[in-house]
């Protein structure tokens, strides 16, 4: 015991303890507590009863939940797009071009801006008499004003665009860090061998960025399925159910309609789905990367 107290691992655990306690109380506890809750009709305000698998059976017959799951899965379309664009942007701002720091900062500004502010600005830009309609009408690309957020065929894609616009800078910075970890002699060797710019990107940059691609794909996948803020602020899941994502539906069932038991069951289903998809992402991105040590 005395030996352990003086060990490095004891010191490490001591430093980590405050954070771990907070994570345990505010992250792990609610997750674990959600499991038994999903088998009840818990509503906070009235008596709770055990309902067995009723919530899960209801969930798979609930057309709104199934639509919300489908919308969340559709949202995953942005994952490869955002990764490709942010890698390209990272490569662009990694070069020694004049004013590159301004670009890096400009791309990062949306990341540090509150989602509420971002959503409100886009709602003005996209309103019937907003700047987007004005420009598109002037360019002759549309003939009538488009209610971008009130039309089912456009609303979800507009939300995806906003999510992407806000997230690009974040992933760009992560990829930039990855790019700067790739040894420059590899590029020099490729250049000596006469490799083209695209060949270098394809054969050196992308394979060595694989750990970053795995990490970024994983967190953007989870973020896409869990998307909430922009949807809730801009459309609240409407019009109809066209932008209803699983997080918004779970929020509505739990915090607006007090069906916390049912909301927990839905949360559990979505968590399992995210877990499954994360395993798939791991499978596709296992190999590659550069060892910095």
């Amino acid at each position: 015991m005395k030996k352990w107290v003086h060990s490095e691992s004891f010191t490490a655990w001591t430093f980590m303890a405050p954070g771990l306690i907070l994570v345990a109380v505010f992250v792990f506890w609610p997750i674990i507590y959600g499991i038994p809750l999903s088998f009840t009709d818990y509503s906070v305000i009235s008596e709770t009863h055990y309902v067995g698998f009723d919530n899960f059976v209801t969930a798979f017959h609930d057309s709104n939940f199934l639509t919300s799951l489908w919308n969340s899965l559709l949202y995953v379309i942005i994952v490869p797009v955002i990764q490709i664009l942010s890698i390209l942007m990272a490569i662009l701002v990694n070069g020694k071009i004049p004013g590159v720091k301004i670009f890096r900062t400009a791309y990062y500004i949306p990341v540090v801006t509150s989602m509420v502010a971002v959503a409100l600005i886009w709602s003005w830009l996209l309103s019937n008499n907003g700047v987007v309609n004005f420009i598109l009408l002037k360019l002759g690309l549309i003939h009538d004003q488009v209610a971008w957020l009130s039309t089912s065929s456009t609303a979800l894609f507009v939300l995806m665009f906003i999510t992407m616009w806000k997230g690009l800078g974040y992933y760009m910075m992560l990829y930039l860090a990855g790019l700067q970890g790739i040894p420059s002699d590899l590029y020099e060797a490729a250049r000596v061998d006469g490799a083209s710019r695209w060949h270098v990107i394809w054969s050196i940059t992308i394979p060595l960025l694989r750990p970053h691609i795995l990490f970024c794909s994983l967190i953007s996948l989870m973020a896409a399925i869990r998307v909430f803020d922009e949807v809730y602020i801009l459309t609240k899941g409407g019009p109809g159910t066209s932008t209803l994502t699983s997080s918004v539906y779970i929020f509505q069932k739990g915090l607006e309609q007090f069906n916390f038991g049912y909301a927990s069951a839905l949360g559990l289903i979505v968590s399992v789905l995210i877990g499954g998809l994360s395993v798939l992402v791991f499978r596709f991105n296992q190999k590659g990367g550069v060892n910095p040590y």
């Binding site: 674990i32 507590y33 499991i35 038994p36 809750l37 088998f39 009840t40 818990y42 509503s43 906070v44 305000i45 009235s46 008596e47 709770t48 009863h49 055990y50 057309s63 709104n64 019937n128 008499n129 209610a147 957020l149 009130s150 039309t151 089912s152 899941g237 409407g238 019009p239 109809g240 159910t241 066209s242 209803l244 509505q252 915090l255 607006e256 309609q257 007090f258």
Partner: protein, 426 residues
């Protein structure tokens, strides 16, 4: 060794899960039996929504008066923002420290009532007290004969009109439209002459009672809105959207203020509280605005939007809490609050005060008098509907699909009916 460690961890986890399960099942027990009369000094916690600091003086005086006439009772007043009060109330009830008197809107009060989380006031109030409120408004939170809330300040919609846009369209604001059809004809002319729309609105379930369509059948066991008449009305509204009379969007109140303030629409249908927002956001538009009676829909009723006081079932001093809620909402105190806050009272006696009949020609007094004259016909559209929020959500989603997504009306009405019936079966 490793195996035994794993076993210990799994046993601990199982015990933990089981204990959570049991605690979840045992939690949230109704606090009815905790209520009732209590001996000794009583401290009541009173929650309001977004009334500080504007009305701090009014409430401090009200509370001081009450405490003077009710020895041994202390009122602790807390005020929360509109968005926070629901979560705050849920967490307080869950943690066993329920407030005693809470200000809630009708939808939330009905939702709490349908889950048995607030006190049935019938056993506490006299007939005289019950009859002092406007019947339509009082009944809005009566579910299965149980009265779950005392109506407090309220408002009925009036028609706000931008006289500049109306004049530009060649119309005379001195002879405002009196029926829905006249309003539509005005809006159509405005669209043709000025390019601006008539009005913006939100697609929610109040559309049905406004148009005389019953939401539910008489015993509230099934949806009643899926009729050929409903289809005709919805087709008519869709045509109005196509003609530019109604903005093709689902426009919540905050955005309606933006549309009206930026002169993108000529009309706004709202309660008198709209004026304060308009005054701040667009003083020039405020100067050009007049308030006239709202042309009613096919039902001829005007919808009210009331704030209520409820007593949570977990209050430890239910009797005293109901007494205090009745005091806050009695005619005398509602009259003085309406004067201080430019709202309308829900008590019949209050409305006889000259404040609600004499105009100084300001927009505020035009709106107040117009709105007050509608109170006897006012109903809150949530009348006795259990699981109101779920039903509203289902209808709103369906209406949005029809109005904004060009969904088939018959098929969508069928789906809405099915969803509402499922909610009612719960």
């Amino acid at each position: 060794m490793k195996k035994s460690k794993k076993r210990t961890v799994s046993v601990l986890l199982s015990v933990l899960l089981l204990s959570f399960l049991l605690s979840a099942c045992g939690g949230g027990k109704s606090g009815g039996e905790e209520g009732g009369k209590s001996a000794g000094p009583v401290k009541l916690e009173f929650w309001t929504i977004s009334l500080q600091p504007t009305f701090t003086d009014y409430f401090n005086k009200l509370i001081a008066d009450y405490q003077k006439s009710h020895e041994g009772v202390t009122i602790e007043w807390k005020d929360y923002p509109y968005d926070a009060v629901t979560n705050k109330l849920l967490t307080s009830i869950a943690s066993g420290s329920s407030p005693d008197v809470v200000n809630l809107n009708t939808e939330f009060a009905s939702q709490m009532g349908s889950k048995g989380a607030v006190v049935d006031l019938n056993s506490f109030l006299t007939d005289e007290q019950k009859q002092s409120y406007f019947e339509g408004i009082y009944n809005s939170t009566v579910i299965d004969g149980k009265a779950y809330a005392l109506p407090w300040y309220t408002g009925t919609e009036v028609l706000f009109m931008n006289t500049k846009i109306v004049k530009d369209a060649g119309l005379d604001p001195a002879n405002p439209p009196k029926t829905q059809d006249e309003l539509a004809a005005w809006a159509k002319q405005i669209k043709e002459k000025t390019g601006k729309s008539g009005y913006a609105r939100q697609w929610v379930s109040n559309l049905f009672p406004r148009e005389g369509i019953k939401l539910l059948n008489d015993d509230k066991s099934a949806a009643a809105f899926n009729t050929p008449e409903t289809k005709t009305i919805l087709e008519d509204i869709k045509q109005k959207i196509a003609d530019g009379i109604i903005v093709k969007e689902d426009v919540p109140f905050t955005k309606q203020i933006q549309y009206y303030s930026s002169e993108q629409v000529a009309f706004e249908m709202s309660g008198p509280t709209f004026i304060n927002f308009l005054k701040t956001s667009a003083p020039d538009v405020y100067k050009n605005t007049i308030a006239v009676p709202l042309p009613t829909g096919r039902s001829g009723v005007r919808l009210s939007n009331s704030m209520n006081l409820v007593v949570p079932a977990k209050s430890k001093h239910q009797k005293e809490a109901v007494e205090f809620a009745a005091f806050v909402t009695n005619a005398e105190n509602q009259t003085s609050f309406a004067k201080a806050a430019n709202t309308l009272p829900s008590t019949k006696e209050s409305i006889k005060d000259p404040f609600f009949t004499e105009s100084d020609n300001s927009l505020e007094s035009q709106a107040k008098i117009t709105s007050a004259n509608s109170l006897d016909k006012a109903i809150d559209y949530m009348v006795g509907v259990p699981n109101a929020t779920d039903i509203n959500a289902a209808i709103a989603r369906g209406l949005q699909k029809i109005m904004l997504n060009d969904a088939d009306i018959n098929a969508t009405l069928d789906a809405m009916e099915q969803e509402v019936n499922q909610v009612l079966k719960k």
